[in-house]
Symmetry: C2
């Protein structure tokens, strides 16, 4: 078991990482696509080769975690096994295969003055990623930042420090093989929590912070950060079954949105059902949910139909269960459904099930969430499903990016102007 | 002269504006294009009709300003005359004529799962605009926010309070005629500076702050805001004359970038000249600048060519003069020019003059500024010149928007997903 690197002055240490990241970001921002892809595939190969060492270092983390009394779910996230190591390597190769977003010029048009004006997609600069104890995020986040031409400073959970350092060695190896500076990806080598405080305040050296983890982590970082944060706080997602819904589609979508996975931000937490269809749709759905072990909590009207379920309290409408629990409310109509979503939702992902053209159109326009859906499960709100290739998170912010954040969300656009000696008159 | 509305509790007053703005934003976000345009043209007509009253109220501000000892430049900005009132009305009609950005769906594509995924452009929500004593900004900012489907809270400089209130009456009139809630545009009615502090911290009610004014104002707001800020701090813009430049184009562009207007953020502050062309380009340019009354400050090599000019100090490279002063540095080559710009520039607007294809291409990619130009004057960095129709500011931030911010910068995108009962498997 390696010992933690002793860091005397966290402030100076982090500033040093920042300076090196800024310098490296100038290099990586102009790197050729082939060079970045070469680094990504070399990192993937290095991770595969290092499998025995990664598993050994991960065992140190697992043993320390067990000794500290981490619960089974956390230990599961912390674990690296051959399948997960292979998945990390594959993930990097998939990122290499994605089109390079950097340098894309769009909307280049002649203006009446004679100049041509367009937009060029460019990297953000330096990205700080703060995450919990899932070592695979180290490879994943490094790969996405790299492909988008950014330098990255990665701060993973202290429980995964040995695993993360071992992955960092593979990343350095791959960068070197491609002739890119090692400081393109730096893993914070200290487990001192003060490092996070420094990272989120280094405005001069860090352009954006992406926190990945539970909502407590994200809320704390957002409150304290001086650097802009791309965050998603929580997902209280709704499915609204309209009274003009196709019953079969409604049941399929509502069942999938709740039961496909429970601990994910795009799972449905509240089902809204139009009064006019509730008696036909709720009884069969309730049987399915109960067979799957989902606890149902209903409003008064719901309990008139489903007599044996618990009552929902006001608090239920504002709760992200992340568990096999579902609250159900019967609403009068689309207006009441939209009001409920805009008041109680978290602007993450909300869906309507309807065959009515005008209501579908209204739902899409009027629900102010990062993803709005018609006749599809909220579980589709995901970078891979959307064709972004990969995602670094799901943003419920409004500025810059909303919804799943892929490579494009890690870039920005600048204006390019082409003239022939043109001047303002 | 009307007296200031007495506001007892600034905190409660501002929260009240925030709550009303949030409610109004739900309405305006879904308003039809024709309704928004009707409001804009009705406001324009109301402003024209109110011309005598606007001039009278403005006279109160002008007299108070003169009594307070405002300088001539500030008084000039504060003044409303018939031409400026006409320009305000025309500006609103131009905004009405722009395409509505809201609701535009792009990149709607089928995914292998069978769902269609695209992006819909939507308003940001509530925008707080903080500006100095230019009353025309009140109409201008209100119009842009409105067209982009946002509610606006406007806080102008206290010196313009009577003018702003009179314009606010016209805005209310126009909104009412179009059947839109008056709270779509609210002018802060108190001159108490605490109102700004409240506005920039109301995260629940305000989605973004756009400060318009001097860099001190913007720096202070950025430092204290809890709400995200779209800002531009300053413009230290460069023109680099490459040794493969066309001499005539170089002289035209460098002269225009400095002398077309001095007090603007897209004026050139530092001229970089490749050593190989300096002796041919600097003497004729110096004559033109000096005839125009521009003070030149040169590096050592520059003064070997232009013997009679002042020396530039290190501080000059980091100074935004906003005045008829120009610093000149001779550099070895493109690399040194790019280094100078990336170190001393403000990531606003920078131009190269060259006939060399590869160098032009490198400059566009490697200079990390919100606008990068080839053979064109930096003065083109402007929303109207870029075809944005109007601009609310020029962002030197990297997240969300860079460069001139038009209607699109006041919107964001959400994902729309269309299915037919599709579920995740």
């Amino acid at each position: 078991m390696t010992t933690a690197t002793p860091v005397i002055d966290i402030h100076e240490y982090m500033l040093g990482l920042g300076r090196q990241a800024r310098a490296a970001s100038r290099r990586i921002s102009c790197a050729e696509t082939a060079t970045k892809n070469q680094a990504l595939t070399a990192i993937a190969a290095a991770i595969e080769t290092a499998q025995p060492r990664l598993i050994e270092e991960n065992r140190n983390d697992m043993e320390a975690g067990a000794a500290q009394g981490l619960d089974a779910a956390l230990l599961d996230r912390l674990e690296l096994n051959p399948a997960r190591i292979q998945a990390m390597a594959e993930g990097l190769r998939e990122i290499a295969a994605l089109p390079d977003p950097v340098g894309e010029i769009s909307e280049l048009r002649y203006r009446p003055s004679g100049i041509q004006v367009g937009k060029m997609r460019v990297p953000l600069g330096v990205i700080g990623i703060i995450y919990e104890s899932r070592p695979n995020v180290t490879a994943d986040a490094a790969g996405l930042c790299l492909k988008a031409g950014n330098a990255a400073i990665l701060r993973g959970g202290s429980e995964a420090i040995h695993s993360n350092r071992a992955i960092a060695v593979c990343i350095q190896d791959g960068l070197r093989q491609a002739g890119l500076p090692g400081a393109c990806v730096q893993v914070v080598e200290t487990t001192d929590r003060a490092a996070v405080g420094e990272l989120i305040r280094m405005q001069e050296y860090v352009d954006v912070i992406v926190p990945r983890g539970g909502k407590d982590l994200i809320a704390r970082i957002s409150a304290e950060a001086k650097v802009p944060v791309i965050k998603h706080l929580h997902g209280i997602c709704h499915v609204y079954i309209d009274d003009r819904a196709d019953i079969d589609k409604a049941i399929k979508v509502a069942y999938n949105a709740k039961t496909h996975r429970y601990g994910v931000c795009n799972a449905m937490e509240t089902l809204l059902v139009a009064a006019g269809i509730a008696e036909r749709v709720l009884p069969p759905l309730a049987v399915m949910y109960q067979e799957k072990g989902v606890e149902l909590r209903g409003c008064g009207q719901t309990r008139d139909i489903l007599a044996d379920i618990k009552g929902a309290t006001l608090e239920d409408w504002d709760t992200e269960y992340l568990a096999p629990i579902l609250s159900i409310r019967i609403v009068d109509d689309l207006d009441q459904a939209i009001d409920h979503i805009n008041i109680h939702g978290s602007q993450h992902t909300d869906a309507i099930v309807t065959e009515d053209y005008s209501r579908a159109r209204r739902f899409l326009r009027e629900v102010d969430s990062s993803s709005v859906m018609v006749n599809a499960s909220t579980r589709f709100a995901d970078g891979f499903e959307y064709g972004l290739g990969a995602e670094i998170g799901i943003s419920t912010d409004k500025l810059h990016v909303r919804g799943p954040v892929g490579l494009e969300g890690l870039t920005t656009q600048k204006f390019v102007v082409l003239g022939d000696g043109h001047i303002r008159v």
